[in-house]
């Protein structure tokens, strides 16, 4: 039983320290989506702007932070969505469709060119080389051009965009969207050297640049050296190379029966592209169990929607070639077993090998970095895995002139991670060029403002909508499978976009507690629909979590703990499933609770 707190006199030996809400990371972490985003895009802020019909503003909030709202609104890996609080507040509840809302902003904006930063005519005299024209390099250019830098960009492709152009199929990302957003950056006066393969880092350094940024991605697709590979010859392809040869229109057809090996997003792009290039019996074959596949769930769904079966637990053994013609492949069936530490091993089931027919095989089993063009004596150190030694905060290599970002820095990730790297590398390059220490990183910009307008009135829409996640409409299969450039997803229309935006809980509107004002009337405890708030005796965190009105079992979510109240208890709020509905502040007679909008933005170069 909980003893009457008024009369409790027992001593507290261990207690959780009061939460320091002045630390910008505390409230930042409450905004789960923004915290999970590598670029820390202020998601709820732009979702509110979408709901308000302010698409230009929503787009610019995105553009400032993630540079490619239209591209990411279609292709992002969406680390924000699994983090979204909405997905935790009830069983069967799904996260807000953050990614597709981003696209709503991009699709419905007007001409925003007037809002792009001004590029000074008078340059600052510093010259930067960017090697690679992918998302990381483009981000560096975006951040440094407005500061007066002169930038040379080198890439072996005919246009900017890097893997966004060569590997993401047009049916997911139309060229027009890519061209537009790459254009915003290149049109600022970046000097491009396209169709130019850089074969020597020294040759670039020798051009007396003030800094060099390497954003060359992870360009080498892995292959499988199985028996029969040589005989199979040209009918076995490396996935990413094949995708780019399709993108650059060197390849326009594939056999009727296609096997795609691998379980990542590249495999999904390969199989769906095959369906559009003549593949009729296209199968994905993967070693691991379906649930362990690296591909995003929605990409797997999209592939299966196009009639592509996924065979899991099949390990490729050999290519079967007869008379110099590829006939198919043999696979060994396995099952996944996990030891106590959760480590997986794939154990053969002992069944007969499975034969699958194939005219073509696409291998999409991973990508590696490759730096044959970086001389090992230019001061850039490489580690035992032959990866450059790069500082995780500054992105500087052991040669102070040379910076890395995107997949080139730490191996394959995704576009949004490359953007985040680019922002940070740009800060470092700017500091370096101004002869300042690159290790002194700028603090984030934060702002905290009350949203109270009056009784029952807040300047944000605090109503919690009950709608389930809306499904993005798609173009009909008969059309999309016939035209590899026809975009499959149609995007939300304005009406559905508004409704989906209204599902956002506004987690950036923080519940801020002012201890001296509290009279411990329990009004907030009584009204809170999700039992987030408790007034209890303090204890060590493990114990405290069990003392609350609802046990705080999600250890990834923080407890907001006040200083001691007059009854010697503390207010503890479990942030886990707070709806940010504002009812605690609404029912607080003394305004000890207030709803305050927290804006966190990552400081960029020159700010």
């Amino acid at each position: 039983m909980v003893a009457s707190p008024i009369h409790n006199v027992h001593k507290q030996v261990f207690a959780v320290n009061p939460t320091d809400i002045k630390n910008p990371e505390y409230f930042h972490k409450v905004v789960d989506c923004q915290y999970a985003c590598p670029a820390h895009t202020p998601v709820p802020e732009y979702i509110r702007l979408i709901a308000a019909g302010r698409y230009d503003d929503a787009y610019m909030v995105n553009w400032e932070s993630n540079v490619f709202p239209g591209i990411l609104g279609r292709t992002c890996d969406r680390p924000c969505e699994p983090a979204c609080r909405r997905g935790r507040i009830a069983k069967g509840e799904e996260p807000v469709a953050i990614c597709r809302l981003k696209r709503v902003a991009a699709d419905n904006k007007t001409d925003i060119r007037a809002r792009l930063p001004e590029i000074p005519e008078l340059k600052n005299g510093k010259r930067i080389a960017l090697i690679g024209a992918g998302p990381a390099s483009l981000t560096v250019a975006r951040d440094l051009m407005p500061l007066g830098y002169s930038i040379d960009m080198y890439d072996n492709q005919f246009a900017g965009g890097g893997m966004m152009r060569s590997q993401i199929p047009s049916f997911r990302l139309p060229a027009s969207v890519l061209d537009e957003e790459v254009g915003y950056i290149l049109d600022t006066g970046v000097v491009t050297h396209f169709n130019t393969e850089v074969t020597s880092l020294r040759s670039i350094i020798d051009k007396q640049y003030d800094a060099v940024f390497v954003g060359t991605g992870a360009p080498r697709g892995r292959g499988l050296n199985l028996p029969g590979l040589e005989e199979a010859g040209k009918r076995v392809h490396i996935g990413i190379d094949w995708l780019s040869s399709v993108a650059f229109e060197h390849t326009s057809a594939i056999g009727k029966r296609v096997l795609v090996l691998g379980g990542g997003n590249t495999a999904m792009d390969c199989c769906r592209t095959s369906r559009r290039l003549g593949g009729e019996d296209v199968r994905v074959v993967v070693r691991s169990p379906f649930a362990d596949m690296k591909a995003s769930p929605w990409e797997k769904e999209d592939a299966m929607h196009e009639g592509i079966p996924i065979y899991d637990n099949h390990v490729p053994k050999e290519f079967v070639v007869e008379n110099g013609v590829l006939k198919g492949m043999h696979f060994e069936k396995v099952e996944a077993q996990y030891d106590e530490s959760g480590k997986r091993s794939l154990v053969p089931t002992g069944e007969d090998l499975v034969f699958m027919e194939a005219d073509d095989v696409l291998m999409a089993i991973g990508q590696d970095n490759a730096f044959p063009w970086v001389e090992r004596d230019v001061g850039v150190e490489f580690d035992k895995w032959d990866m450059p030694v790069v500082d995780k905060a500054t992105y500087q290599s052991t040669n102070p002139l040379v910076f890395f970002g995107g997949d080139a820095a730490f191996g394959p990730e995704n576009v949004i991670t490359a953007v985040a790297h680019g922002h940070q590398a740009a800060i470092s390059i700017d500091l370096h060029c101004r002869e300042k220490s690159v290790s002194e990183r700028p603090a984030p910009f934060t702002n905290l403002v009350s949203q109270k307008m009056g009784i029952h009135e807040w300047s944000y829409d605090n109503r919690v909508e009950n709608d389930k996640r809306f499904v993005v409409p798609m173009a009909p299969l008969e059309k999309t499978l016939r035209d590899r450039k026809l975009e499959v997803e149609l995007g939300f229309d304005l009406d559905i976009g508004f409704k989906e935006a209204e599902r956002c809980l506004n987690c950036d509107v923080q519940t801020v507690f002012d201890t001296p004002r509290c009279i411990e009337c329990d009004a907030c405890v009584d009204i809170c629909p999700t039992d987030c708030i408790s007034f209890v005796d303090n204890a060590e965190e493990e114990v405290l979590r069990t003392r609350l009105t609802a046990v705080a079992g999600n250890l990834a979510q923080d407890l907001y703990v006040s200083t001691d109240l007059p009854t010697r208890r503390v207010m503890v709020k479990d942030e886990d499933v707070c709806l940010h509905c504002g009812l605690c502040a609404e029912r607080c007679p003394t305004s000890a609770w207030d709803m305050q909008k927290f804006l966190y933005s990552v400081t960029k170069a020159g700010q």
Binding site: A3, S4, E93, E457, C521, D522, P529, A550
Partner: protein, 350 residues
């Protein structure tokens, strides 16, 4: 702008023996002033009913007039309700209870509704030992009419805009003891740890169970100088002891320090576990309870907790030997058992 309760609840809310979460016992969102003690009492009632796994349709909540009597809208939204005339709730409960003893009667009243206009009704419900829970949400003022002193305002206490009250206060627990109440408790809206088990015990008690709950009026009577403010009550509350309620179905698993503790089995088999803090009180002795109340009042303290309980309480139905079955379940054969029975009755009177 929005003032609506979202439909979402904590995804891991515990369910009771009926499979219900606490949400099934909630009512409409409160329209009382923010911070009103009454809302906390509503919350305590919700918790007690959920934890006791009561079937919502087996509860009737009845009230009179006043802020307190609005409160039943804000809890037990799936139970029966009757918002009666000012001060007349006990009459309606009497009628309903006589007609159907199978329901739990939860009367909610205020200090005005009970100690002024409803005083006569209250007195007779107590002395008849009507089987009901009678919760007074006692804030010492008429909140609905801008905070005038009520009959339970202590002498010398001043509300926000008022002068010190020149009149003597009616002490409802003291009065109830004198009238023969069989369960008397006092608590504080800001202390659910004490209030929830008291409500559970009152629900399990057979007979009239009064809980006088001091419930600060944040708008008119939560100022320095008031004896019904959050601060004053916290500083002056003196608990008779702690109360733990163990429902019939559950085993007693908690261990208690030996000595000042006592287990009391209620008529439904539940156990009330008392840990005494006030050395001068025997809560099973009416005289001791009356003395303790007076002593604490003299010391300027507010005695809270279980003050008195009659373990052998006989309620109005027991005394009157009324029908065990609800009247609405009686059929013609029950009501007109026939000539033979009448002849037997007549014969017994000859």
């Amino acid at each position: 702008m929005s003032y609506q309760l979202p439909k979402f609840r904590h995804p891991d809310l515990p369910v009771n023996a009926l499979g219900y979460t606490r949400a099934e016992y909630e009512g409409a969102i409160s329209t009382l002033c923010a911070g009103c003690g009454h809302d906390s009492i509503s919350g305590a009632i919700v918790r007690a009913c959920h934890e006791l796994a009561l079937e919502p349709h087996k509860i009737a909540k009845l009230s009179g007039i006043g802020c307190s009597s609005k409160a039943p809208t804000y809890f037990l939204g799936k139970s029966h309700g009757f918002n009666s005339v000012h001060g007349r709730m006990p009459s309606v409960v009497s009628g309903a209870n006589m007609a159907n003893r199978d329901l739990l009667y939860l009367g909610v009243s205020g200090d005005g509704d009970t100690a002024s206009i409803g005083m006569g009704q209250f007195a007779h419900a107590v002395r008849r030992n009507l089987n009901m829970v009678y919760i007074v949400m006692n804030n010492g003022c008429y909140g609905l009419t801008k905070g005038q002193d009520s009959a339970t305002a202590d002498a010398g206490s001043a509300s926000k805009k008022g002068d010190p009250n020149p009149f003597s206060a009616i002490d409802l627990p003291g009065l109830a003891l004198q009238l023969g109440a069989t369960f008397v408790a006092r608590s504080f809206s800001g202390d659910k740890g004490q209030l929830v088990p008291l409500i559970k015990a009152a629900i399990s008690h057979r007979g009239f169970a009064l809980i006088d709950v001091i419930s600060p009026c944040v708008t008119f009577n939560n100022n320095p100088g008031s004896t019904k403010s959050y601060d004053f009550v916290r500083e002056h509350a003196e608990a008779t002891g702690t109360v733990d309620f163990v429902p019939m179905r559950e085993e007693i698993t908690a261990s208690y320090a030996a000595g000042r503790t006592q287990d009391v089995t209620l008529h439904d088999g539940s156990v009330l576990h008392l840990e005494k803090l006030a050395p001068d009180l025997d809560p099973f002795d009416r005289v001791s309870a009356m003395v303790a109340l007076q002593n604490h009042t003299a010391l300027g303290q507010i005695l809270t907790g279980l003050i008195y309980m009659d373990k052998d309480s006989r309620d109005l139905h027991d005394v009157m030997e009324t029908s065990r079955r609800p009247l609405n379940s009686l059929v013609e054969e029950d009501l007109c058992p026939g000539d033979k029975v009448l002849a037997n009755i007549n014969a017994s009177l000859r």
